[in-house]
Symmetry: D2
Subunit: 368 residues, 4 copies
C-alpha cells in the first residue's frame, strides 16, 4: 500500500511537483468531525515558505474539497481534496531528465520507475507533497484537540544551537505557544541564532538540517499494539514518510546507549489517582503501548540537498560522470516548515490507533 | 494487523513467555526455498543466552514445523512452527499479577488487556518472542544470501566503548566474519572491553544497552516505495518491533543535524559501469528507495530493564506506591543477542519488498 | 479499507453524486502502461446512458488526470483522476433529506453516517461512482489484453429472455464482438426482445434487472490463493461492490445443487500439450486457483429501485410512515450499462493477482 | 494476505491434511471474551463426520490452545491453537503425486506451488482446514450471541428436495432449533428425504451438493461499508473461502432477474419505533450496509468431487491422459457438515465489522 497509510482511518496521497495538482483521500473518517477551513489554513501557513530562510516558490495551497464534506463537517464518506500546482517553472528542472541531483531521489526514482516518471521538481518525491499531509492531518489534529490530546513540535537543535527542553509541568502551555509560532522554538534567543545560522548557510549557497522534537500530551494509556504495531513502529513508519527524515528516537533515544538500567528505568508513582512515571526516558511508551505520560520523540531532518554549488554527479542516461549546479528556487533549510508536517503525521497515526481501540465514533466532537 | 507484518510475505507471531508455546506463521512464501534446519539452528544459537553476560534461562529453541515444509523446502503454503516453552519458573513472577516492573510493559499491558493477560515473564511482551522472529527470518535470510544480498550487524557502541566502523571495501568480508561470532564486533579488543563492562554492570546488579549497526550489501537499486512505504519506513516499522529498540537512524542519522548540505550530500560517480555514491551519508537510500549502495542503519537498544535493585513502583490493583526488587534469571545486557533479531527483521522486510517488485518466484534459489 | 481495493495494485474511490467531482487513485501500477484516452473513452461510452432505455442525465465523463501519467504512459506513481459532476439537479432529490427511497441506501446511509452525509442523488452510494471503476479498470483491461487475457460480458438473461451461451471454441471471437456492442448480447434477436421488455417496463413506470455473464480467456493456470484469497473470493468481493449486484456464481453455480458429482466433475485431458478440462462446471477455478480454462461467472443485477410509482416508506427523521413517488431522471434498467463495470472490476482484480505472482513489471506492454 | 482474513479481528490459517497439525491464529480479539471449550466442542461436533452419509475418517478435533487464553477468557493477545492430524492414511493418496482428481485442486495446486506442495489428502486445500474456521468462529459466534446477534443455517435444498423457508416471525426460535441439529433442516420430513437421497448417491458411488441458507437475526443497522467493503463483499469473500462454495446470493438473489422493480423493492414501515422493511428481497442489506432486518444469504455447495467411479484425468508429470478411481474414505455429501463452517465465517466477518464501527471493547461480554 505504497501511497496509503493507516488501518481504519487511511490517507492516500497523489501528485507530482509540476503536474496539474497534488491531493489526498482521507477515508474511514467518522461522520461529524469539523472541517474548519480557517484551522486548516493556519496549519498550511505554518508549512508555507516565508522570508529569507525559505524558497521563493509560493503557492496559495488552499485545498479544494471534492467530496466527504458538507456544511463544514465530515460526512463519513471519503474526503478527497486537491491542491492545484500554479507556480510551476519547469525550465528550472530541464536538466533532471538525465542528471541526478546528489542526495535527491532523481536517480532512484529513475530506476524504480524505469524512466517513465515526471522528474521535474522532484516529481512525486517532491517535498511539496507534504502539503497534503498537513491538510489531512489538520482535520484529525483538531479532532484530537477536542478530545484533550495536544501535539507540539519544536526545533530542538540546529547546527549546534540548542533550544530549551520541554518541561513536564509546563508542557501544555509550551505546546500551545509553539503552535502559534512560525519558527517553533521554546527559547526565542535560540531561535534568533538558528535563523542567523540558516541565513549564513544561505549566503554560502549551502543548507542546514536539524532535530525536531515532538511532545504529545493527553494520550490515554493503552494505545498501540504489541510486536509489529507498537506505537513506536506506527509513528516511525509515518515519520520516515517525511522526505528529509533520516532518524527517529523516542524518550532518551540514542542516549540510552550510555546509561545503566538503573538510570534509564522510569520508576512509577501515583499522582492524582493516576499511575505516572517519575522520569520519562521511555518517552511515554512501554512495550510499544502508551503509558499515559507525554509521548516524546525526535527526528533528524537532513540538510536540504538542493544547494547552489557545483557537485559531482552522473548523467544516468549516457552513464557519464558530470557536474551539476542547482539553480532555481530552494530552501536553505526546511526544518521550520517540516515541524507542522511532523505534527500532522503524528495526528493521523494517533487518530487511527485511537479509533482501533475505542471505535470510529469515539472521535466525534460531541462525544467529548 | 497487530501481530502480523509484511505485505506479500507475512509473518504472524503468537505466544506468551510462560504459556505452552510461542510460534509463527510465515505466509506468502514462494515454493521451493530451502528450509535448512542447520542454518536455522545456527541463527537460533546466536540469539541464545550464553555465559556470564546472559540469563540463566536456557531453552532448546528448536522450532517444530507444523506445515508448509516438505523435504527441506517450502511448499508455498503457510509455514507454521512452534517452539515449546519448557524452562518455565512461574514463581519468579508471582508479584507481576499486580506490581509493575519499571520500564517493562507490565502496567501498559494491564491497561491494554484490561487485566486479562497472562503477565508472567512479561507474557506476550517478553523478549522470548524474538526467537520466533529469528527462526522465521532465517529462512528469508538464507534465500537472500543465495541471491547475493548479505546482512550483517555489529555492536557499534556500548557504554562509551566504540567498535571499528564498517569499511565499504571490506564490507562483504566484514559481514561474513560477523555472522560467525557470538559477540558481534569488528574489533575483538573492543569486544573484550564491552564484555568486561557488561560483567561489571552485572556485578552492580545493573544492566547496559548499546547501539547496533547493520549493513546490507548487494541490495539492488529501486527497492522501497515513495511516501508511506519508504525503505526507511518499512525497516523502522520492523525494527521498532524488537522490544528494546528506542531509536533508528539511517546513514549518518542524527549527526546530519550538525552538517551543511555540502557535507551531507553524497556525490555520484560511476564504477564498473554502475552508478555509485562517493560517500554514503544517506545510508544507501534516497527518496525512500535503495540506490544500490550498502544500506546502513543503527538502532539503540535500551539497558535491560530487569535489575536486581530496589526500584520505586506501584501496585496497579490497589493503586498504592510500593517498591520492587526483581529476582529471577535476567540478562545484564541483551544487545549481543538482539543483533541476530535485527538481522532477521531486516531479512523479512527486504524479502517482502523484493517480492513486491520482482514477483514471488524471483526469490527461488534456482533462479539466481 | 472501505473505499480501497487491491493488494499491490489498489484503487481508492471517492465522490458523491451531487458533489463537485467523483474520482479515483490507482496506486501500485507498473510504469510504462499505456493510458490510452481513446480506449478509456470507448469504455466510458459503453457505460453511458443511451436512448429510451436509460436515464436522461448525461455527463461527458471525461476523466481529468491529475498525476501519474506522462506522454500517454503510466509513470508508476499514483495515478489520480477526477470526473466533474456537471449535470446536477439537486431539486430532484430534496425529499431525500428525510425520506428513504425503498431498496436504496438512503436509510442505511443515514444510520451509518449519523445524518451527516449528502444524500442527494444517492450521495456516495450513487451508481454514478461506477464511472470511476470503469475509467480505472480500462487501464488494466487494456494492459491485460496486450498480454492475451480477454474479458467479455453479455446479458445472459432478462425477465425470462435468454441470450445464447458462450461457446468455448468461439470464445475469443464472441468476446471481441461483445466488446463493440452497446447492448451486449450474443444473439441480436434476444437483445431486441430484451430492449422491448425494458421499454415496456418503462411504460409501466417500472424497472427490470437481469443476469450478466462474464468469460475470461487466456488467464494462465495458477492464479488465486488458497483459503481466503481464492479467485472466487477476490472476484466476488469486487463484484459485490457494484451497487445492484445481489448474487455471484462461478461455472455451473447454483445449478450444481441439482447434480451428482459424476455430472458436476470436470474430467481432465490434454490438448496441444496443455492440461484442459473436458467440461467447465467449475468455471475455470479449482481450489480457488485458475486452471487455465476460461473463467466463467455470473452476477444478478437487481431491478433499478428508482420507479415512478407510489411506494410505502418512512420519514426517518420524524419516524412516521409515508409514501414516496420518485420523480427525476432514472433508468428503467441498468444491466446493459453495468456490464462494462463488471468487466472493469474483473480487470482490476486479475491484474492485482497477476502482479502478486509474477511481479509488477510483468504487466508492462513491452514484456509481452 | 492469502491465509489471513479480517481487518481488526484477523484469522490466519495453516496446515495440510496429512501434515503434523492444522491450526489458526486469531488476532485483534478484545480481552475478556469467553473461550468456552464445551461450546467450541459442540460446534466441532456439528462439523464432524457422522453416520452413513459421511467419511470414515474420524478425528477428535479438540483444539489445543497455545496462547491468548487464560482462565477461560481471551487475553487480548494472539490466540493460537492447533489440531493434530492423527488419523492419517497417506497410502490412500499415493497416486496424487502426479495424477489429478477431477474438480479437486490437485492440478492447480501443482501449478501454483511448482510441484513443492504436499498434495496428500488435498494438502492445504483439504476440507479438513475448515475445522480451524469452526473453532475460531465459535469464539466470535458465542460473543455475538451474548450481544443478541444470532446466526443459523439450514439445508435449503438438495437434489430437488426443498426444506421449509425461514419465517420472519419465527426466526429466532428457528435459528435456535437449527443450532441443536446434526442435520440442519427446518422440516424433518424434508431432512429424512435428503438423507435418503445422499445414501442413494453413496450406493451409486456418487455424491451430492445442495444449497445452504443462513439467517442472521439481531444485527444492528449501519454495519458494512460503501463500495469495496460492502457487507455483501465481505461476507462473500469469506464464504467463497469454504472449499465447495461456487455461488453466493443475498435476499432474493438470482430470482431478482425475473422481477419488476415494483416487486423487488422492499417498502419501509415502522414497527415498535424501529424502521423495518415490509418484505426482504434485499436480504437485510441496502447499499452494502445492514438495515436492521434479518440478513439472509444462500450458498451453493458443489457435489463432493471424490467419487469411487472411474474418471478421465491426466498425469501432470508425464503429461499423459489416464483414468482415476478414487478410493479411500470420502463423504457422499458434505453439505450437512459445511453449514457450521458457514456460520463460523459469518461470525468472524460480522464481529470484525462490528468492532470496526463500535470499537474492539464493544464485544466484551460484560458490556452487553
Amino acid at each position: 500500500m505504497n501511497n496509503t497509510i493507516g488501518n481504519l482511518i487511511t490517507l492516500t496521497v497523489f501528485g507530482e511537483s509540476h503536474g496539474p495538482a497534488i491531493g489526498g483521500v482521507l477515508d474511514g473518517l467518522p461522520p461529524g468531525l469539523p472541517v474548519d477551513e480557517a484551522y486548516i489554513a493556519s496549519q498550511m501557513d505554518l508549512r508555507r515558505a516565508v522570508g529569507k530562510i525559505s524558497t521563493g516558490r509560493h503557492e496559495a495551497d488552499v485545498p479544494e474539497f471534492l467530496s466527504g464534506v458538507r456544511n463544514g463537517r465530515t460526512e463519513g464518506t471519503p474526503l478527497a481534496f486537491i491542491i492545484r500546482n500554479t507556480n510551476v517553472k519547469r525550465s528550472d528542472y530541464d536538466m533532471l531528465e538525465d542528471t541526478a541531483r546528489p542526495s535527491h531521489a532523481d536517480y532512484t526514482g529513475h530506476v524504480k520507475y524505469c524512466g517513465y516518471q515526471d522528474a521535474s521538481g522532484g516529481g512525486h518525491f517532491s517535498g511539496r507533497l507534504t502539503a497534503v499531509l498537513v491538510a489531512a492531518g489538520a482535520i484529525l489534529r483538531q479532532a484530537l484537540e477536542q478530545k484533550g490530546i495536544l501535539i507540539g513540535t519544536h526545533i530542538r537543535s540546529l547546527h549546534g544551537i540548542e533550544d530549551d527542553l520541554f518541561e513536564q509541568n509546563e508542557l501544555i502551555s509550551q505546546i500551545r505557544a509553539l503552535n502559534t509560532k512560525n519558527f517553533a522554538v521554546l527559547n526565542e534567543e535560540a531561535g534568533r541564532q538558528m535563523r542567523n545560522e540558516i541565513e549564513h548557510a544561505a549566503s554560502l549557497h549551502d543548507s542546514l538540517g536539524g532535530i525536531l522534537e515532538t511532545a504529545v500530551a493527553g494520550l490515554p494509556a493503552g494505545i498501540g499494539e504489541p510486536m509489529f504495531d507498537s506505537l513506536e513502529s506506527r509513528l516511525s513508519h509515518a515519520l520516515f514518510s517525511i522526505p528529509a527524515v533520516k532518524g527517529v528516537e523516542f524518550g532518551s533515544g540514542f542516549a540510552l546507549a550510555g546509561m545503566y538500567g538503573s538510570e534509564a528505568n522510569d520508576p512509577l508513582g501515583i499522582e492524582n489517582g493516576q499511575v505516572i512515571t517519575l522520569s520519562n526516558h521511555n518517552g511515554g511508551i512501554n512495550g510499544g503501548i502508551s503509558n499515559g505520560m507525554p509521548v516524546i520523540f525526535r527526528t533528524v531532518i537532513k540538510p536540504t540537498p538542493s544547494i547552489a554549488r557545483p557537485q559531482k554527479t552522473v548523467n544516468f542516461k549516457t552513464m557519464e560522470e558530470t557536474e551539476i549546479t542547482i539553480t532555481g528556487r530552494h530552501d536553505p533549510a526546511i526544518i521550520h516548515r517540516a515541524r507542522v508536517v511532523q505534527d500532522a503525521v503524528c495526528a493521523l497515526t494517533l487518530a487511527d490507533l485511537l479509533a482501533q481501540r475505542f471505535g470510529l465514533l469515539w472521535l466525534k466532537e460531541d462525544r467529548i
